[in-house]
């Protein structure tokens, strides 16, 4: 099979052996595979795939058709439209995943939308609900509202009855983000728009001191992006006084059982909302697999709202 392949911090197209589904696993013929921030880091050698995943084929999310069942796999018949997250290897003609981490593709979604859905909606849903336990009526602040996870988080929070404020650095994207249902502000002086019950931190350490000021009593900060900085200053007395908490998380390194739980939660709580129109996957641009290198350059350049997706 052909696959996007990392060679000397560049993306090239190479031939690889087709993967073989093991017990409980499914071989999927990939139709679309989204790009994510993690792919950019992996290309630079900073974010290796977890053990058991292909090390040189990037790609953490995909949508496609079931091509072959491994021993004992029975959740989906051959030909079914499925999607999911994997530790790596999705930007290829075929990928293998355990059937427990696969989800059915909602009827209303085309391949590019489905291929750009799993990583950002799983990440956002896990961060907002499983970790920060966002509740209806609460006030959410999303730092980095124009990114993939940010746009997913805004929509999910609005669909659950929370009010959403989002910081967006790029002025040109603010109107588009506000159409997702957020009150959009510049990053400077965000605490003046608080207090917030939950803060989703997709930017990094520089926001943390002001995050503590912006939190309501009982507030939660979930950190899942640190591109602007890693070492944060935290006022522990403020953390105590507000009875607050700070979560950190990544999806990629989680074991099978935890990834399977996130897939079940998405099936039950999120996927039905695509068919009703309450949620959508903003797709900025698609590239065929053999232009993967150009897709990566496009992603790294930033400035677009929505997913960049490889199609096959």
């Amino acid at each position: 099979m052909r696959a996007a392949t990392i060679r000397d911090q560049e993306i090239v197209l190479e031939e690889h052996p087709d993967p073989i589904p093991g017990t409980g696993e499914v071989l999927v013929r990939v139709h679309a595979a989204g790009l994510n921030g993690g792919d950019m880091m992996q290309r630079r050698g900073l974010y290796p795939a977890p053990p058991g995943s292909p090390q040189d084929i990037p790609g953490m999310e995909f949508a496609g058709e079931v091509a072959m069942l491994g021993p004992g796999a029975e959740r989906f018949p051959e030909g079914e439209r499925v999607m999911g997250i994997v530790g790596g290897g999705a930007q290829a003609e075929f990928v293998v995943a355990h059937e427990r981490v696969l989800m059915p593709v909602p009827e209303s979604l085309d391949w590019p939308a489905a291929g750009g859905l799993p990583e950002v909606f799983t990440t956002a849903h896990d961060a907002l609900f499983s970790q920060a336990q966002l509740r209806p009526g609460e006030r959410l602040l999303v730092h980095g509202g124009a990114g993939g996870v940010g746009t997913a988080a805004i929509q999910l929070a609005r669909a659950t009855g929370a009010s959403v404020t989002a910081t967006v650095r790029n002025e040109a994207l603010r109107e588009q983000v506000s159409k997702l249902g957020a009150s959009v502000i510049a990053p400077e002086g965000f605490a003046g728009h608080g207090p917030f019950d939950v803060i989703l931190e997709l930017v990094g350490a520089p926001n943390m001191p002001e995050n503590m000021n912006a939190l309501a009593t009982g507030g939660r900060v979930t950190v899942i992006g640190v591109s602007a900085g890693v070492m944060a200053e935290v006022n522990l007395l403020a953390l105590m006084g507000k009875r607050a908490r700070i979560h950190g998380s990544t999806l990629r390194a989680r074991p099978l059982e935890e990834k399977a739980i996130t897939a079940r939660l998405l099936e039950h709580e999120v996927l039905p909302l695509f068919d009703t129109g309450a949620l959508r996957v903003p797709v900025a641009e698609t590239f065929p697999l053999d232009q993967a290198a150009a897709a990566y350059e496009h992603f790294a350049a930033g400035g677009k709202l929505g997913k960049i997706v490889l199609t096959l």
Copy 2:
């Protein structure tokens, strides 16, 4: 009534009007009232009592007899032995508390033990179980194991099947702390004894960088003491990579309903363990109320294991 009273950062004994129990409240004739770190801060003007509590009478925990019932109060008859936490005012001959935050005194406990129980055991139980969700078999590190909350936390964690390591700076106290069931170490290089699933931080900010190294995947840090420093440096990438979280908390400022919940949890999960002998309240020394000033000096000097309790 006579009460310990804060005047110009000193403790004196003064006459105050007897408090009157309101709806659902109980007047308690205090027999014992423990001292806590918060009292030391309040004496220095750094930790005012929350609104609704006496501002000049310190004391956040007590044990005594029900002396009078306010309208609608019905949980305890007059004369019953009760104990509990309040926002302030406990170091006095009488204190008023809502009946929902009172707990019965276990039969096996004398007045000094009962008067030194509520604050530290509620704080430790809340931090370990309600916040950090400590589970049987997990590995707990307690920073500051010789203090009141530290000794309570060690015993509670051992009773629930966790393994406990405790840092104790004062060499003279290490053997006594180890008898509570902890593996006792010096504070220097504690991460080498990890990893830990839960870290109870009773010392403060200087430990936080090494705490992140000492945490296991899925680990939790609960911060409830910052005497050694407030501004902490936190590596957010480590927090993400370990899928960890940091809690901060205080009991004192919580609303009635939250304090009542902690009282119910203690009644169900903790108090029975005093009568079985699995838990005990280490009492270092008792002082009669009219020697409250000396008791405060004694507490501030440190170096003792166990509670300092005023008796009446």
